[in-house]
Subunit: 541 residues, 2 copies
């Protein structure tokens, strides 16, 4: 039974948005209450504003009736809670109808977008415009929101991989319904709003990333001009112990500017999950897939214990100089290293079939894996990584992928680790031991975000249809998070089930609480999101 | 006559700091009340805390007795108000005694410092340590504070030129005396505090840059490993009209990553001011120096209407590739372009004297100008730029430079302008016309901070000992600022006399006011600094 204040708010929202944009249909609500792990939160309604003005009115109504509202852009925050609110009994503020690309400046290399604009939409837009600009993309679905990912401080693969660092000039609706603009954008006559991040006076953009202080309704994203030449470098290590020394070399290359983009390195489990589902036959239905079994598989499928990729961007001569430098630095550190450009990739694609006919060696699988990875280094979104969430499902992967509704189990845990051999070894051992002991495969991807720091994305992948797996996966997450945090590594981003990782740092959390009261006196915006103090908010478990 | 609350606060401060660290001597107060332009602000006392704890206590006392306090690190914010408070009747919180380098990590390339640490101190430290790390330096005095400059979002010349972007993990004392730490530093057990900027949850560092929300008591600065090879490129344009097209080429090179550092370009007036004082003889004592006279001087002294420099960092091959690309791109765009490395510079120094003897051509002056510029591209602080503040003084430049006490007149106005030909032409014409009409030389330096945005630093340089010049200079500043703002360009940084440029943007300023009330209920920290609303604060004029 809804309380009276909800009835009043819903009636007001319907007047503002029209009744078709205030959804209370139980089936649709159930869908948005579902993530890739256990959630208990109920959703009261879905609001679908079409404009910033409607967002303002929605929040004013929420403030007036003191009912909580939880914004989502595309709701595809898989592994971190999808679009499910942190707290129960919120109305979802679905921003996906606000999907305009407001401006594109080819010369100064930026676009200004609304929260509903997806990776695919921007990529298609640039292609249609015959733009010379490259975007950055994450490996997640092409249908994820650019603003959503940026405000979660997500990352991709190109030199613009740190999304938040390449954003500029926010328009934000505060919980009270007031609008603020950041940077120079706040000056009505300004022409530099999209060009210079800091503006004048306090730089406030950071307040609206990983927070519940406001709803970002538009933002500028800096793009990169297509380089004259592009080459990918791909490497693998056949031995686990190669990883540590390799990380140190890559750190040096990144600090020196030879490598200007993120370097991604996935372990064998991670790679296998993007090639196929769990090998039920081989393991006679048992889980987890043991290291010895994994070793055999990768020897057969020809990938490494660790498999990495990065991009080189510049003129032909610049790329060649970087290539030589990388070849020299990685010599003896990796089992195999190769470089790939558009021409070589096209040749591989062309000759995959003939080679199979002649030699029996099936290149097509390698190329199928390679092509999306290669594309990501050029900022081309892909849906080829996505099927990996079906890893533990016994049925086939459907054509239309919806991990939430398909009951795929996925928890992502993503601590930042120093780019040193000893730190990387520490997290590697801990992860492998913890996940295998809990019955899950230790899938690890490492992203060297800067020369100093590596984002470890650890997937706990499971089948939600198996009794008790939700609980086991969450318990495994908590065990891992606790021991990793004790080592001194913290998450770069939190799932809705793990807000207690915000910790108990007095000063910082007190300041957040003060800012929250100042901008959201009624406490109606995304309560519990990136705010936690012991005893104040119950977490999901 | 001090009010009773001041007597009470001073007594308390003396107990905490010792009486030698609470200065009320009129001569010393008069010194810190002096900037490089007219100021009316009186200073009540100077507090000299030696530790974070003492800063906390000082602020608690200030809050308790409701007396305003104004922090300064080195007080050398010349051209923007030196160390003079924005508002009258503040106690200065002088942080220069907190000058420890708390940590230096050679492998992961950073230092953690206190606010009293100067450019010179860090440079000497790195040299003594035989460190392989390079810092970034501004062209201002070697004795300026690193934290002070970073929090003002100042910039230098290397790939780490955007200082705020290369900072991480702040420790901040809030006006109430509470301490907060930002990023992962807030977690007591964290090892990644100095390595990853964003931490988890809202990113708050921006709140403490260009604000009056807290006193930064320590901060990590990311450094760059010395590159295998370094080369400077130096260019000049003999015609004013070359600037616009040149800017567009440089923007493309910067966006493409060929140029990875700031490019600095100074006009003829700017260059002349760093070579000599005003040519009183030539002009028969008249001011300003007219464009025709300037043309003659630069033809004689062999510099351009615009003179630029930038650095190339990498392996020899990488630098060579970048050099070829720059040579190709700048061909026909500049009058002269040359590249310089350590070996060539050493040769020039060695042969300057013999060449003069043989040819009569005095290279030493060119090299004298070149050397500090070249050094700045390698992050070496210099005191050679400083004498330019004596431009309009009639006496000689003293050995020990103190622009405030020497009554050098200097106002800096620094708007950000889009990196396009038309924008740069617009600001160039407006600046030249406005300054010459007001009787000042239009000294302009352009720093291409990113491929999209150029920081124009315009100096109004004068002699404070001449009657009426203070007023004329300030009037010129205001005329210029008004017309530039009307064109859509805004300052990147404000002097204490120009806080009204914070503008009247409703949402943003309201939010600032709310945060200010939340962190500083007594309003005791740097009142008026980067806060302005019409009618609320009287500005200096």
């Amino acid at each position: 039974m809804l309380e009276a204040k909800w009835h009043a708010a819903l009636a007001q929202w319907q007047i503002v948005l029209g009744s078709h944009s205030v959804i209370a249909d139980p089936a649709q609500l159930a869908a948005v209450e579902t993530a890739t792990f256990f959630t208990h939160q109920k959703v009261t309604a879905i609001l679908r504003p079409a404009s910033r003005e409607q967002v303002q009115t929605c929040l004013r109504i929420a403030t007036r009736f003191q009912v909580p509202v939880y914004p989502r852009s595309s709701g595809k925050n898989w592994g971190y809670g999808s679009g499910v609110p942190t707290q129960t009994n919120c109305a979802i503020l679905d921003l996906s109808r606000m999907n305009r690309i407001l401006e594109c400046n080819e010369k100064l290399a930026y676009v200004t977008v609304e929260p509903g604009v997806t990776q695919r939409q921007l990529y298609d837009f640039l292609t249609t415009q015959k733009s010379n600009l490259w975007m950055d993309a994450t490996g997640s679905s092409p249908d994820t929101s650019l603003i959503g990912n940026t405000m979660e401080r997500g990352f991709g693969h190109t030199p613009h991989g740190d999304h938040f660092a390449q954003s500029c000039g926010l328009e934000v609706v505060l919980p009270t319904g007031d609008v603020i603009e950041t940077g120079y954008r706040r000056f009505p006559q300004s022409v530099t709003g999209p060009l210079y991040r800091w503006g004048v006076g306090p730089f406030l953009d950071g307040l609206f990333s990983q927070s519940n202080f406001g709803v970002v309704t538009s933002m500028t994203i800096w793009l990169m001009p297509a380089p004259a030449h592009f080459e990918a470098f791909l490497f693998r290590c056949d031995h686990q112990a190669q990883l540590g020394p390799l990380i140190e070399v890559l750190s040096r290359l990144r600090l020196a500017g030879t490598i200007q983009s993120a370097v991604h390195i996935g372990n064998d489990y991670k790679v296998l999950s993007s090639l196929q589902q769990y090998p039920w036959d081989l393991t006679q239905g048992k889980t987890p897939l043991l290291p010895a079994q994994m070793d055999a598989i990768r020897a057969r499928l020809q990938f490494g214990a660790w498999n990495g990729s990065g991009g080189l961007y510049g003129t032909k001569a610049q790329v060649a100089a970087a290539r030589r430098e990388i070849r020299r630095a990685l010599a003896g550190k990796v089992t195999r290293l190769r470089f790939l450009d558009d021409r070589m990739l096209a040749l591989s694609l062309k000759f995959a079939k003939p080679i199979k006919l002649l030699s029996g060696w099936d290149l097509s699988k390698t190329v199928a894996l390679l092509q999306p990875l290669y594309g990501l280094l050029k900022g081309i979104p892909t849906d080829r990584v996505l099927p990996s969430v079906f890893w533990r499902k016994t049925g086939p992967v459907p054509a239309d992928i919806d991990p939430d509704q398909a009951r795929c189990g996925l928890l992502w845990y993503a601590p930042i680790v120093p780019a040193t051999s000893s730190d990387i070894d520490r997290i590697r051992h801990l992860t492998v031991d913890t996940l295998l002991a809990a019955g899950f495969e230790p899938m690890i991807s490492l992203t060297m975000i800067t020369g100093r720091a590596i984002a470890c994305v650890i997937s706990i992948s499971y089948d939600r249809d198996i009794d008790g797996e939700d609980e086991r996966a969450l318990a495994c997450y908590r065990t891992l998070a606790e021991s990793v945090t004790a080592l001194g590594y913290n998450s770069y981003r939190l799932g809705i089930q793990s807000m207690e990782e915000m910790g108990s740092s007095e000063g910082y959390l007190d300041l957040l609480a003060k800012i929250k009261s100042a901008v959201d006196p009624a406490g109606i915006l995304a309560p519990g999101r990136y705010e936690f103090r012991k005893g104040s908010h119950a977490s999901a478990s």
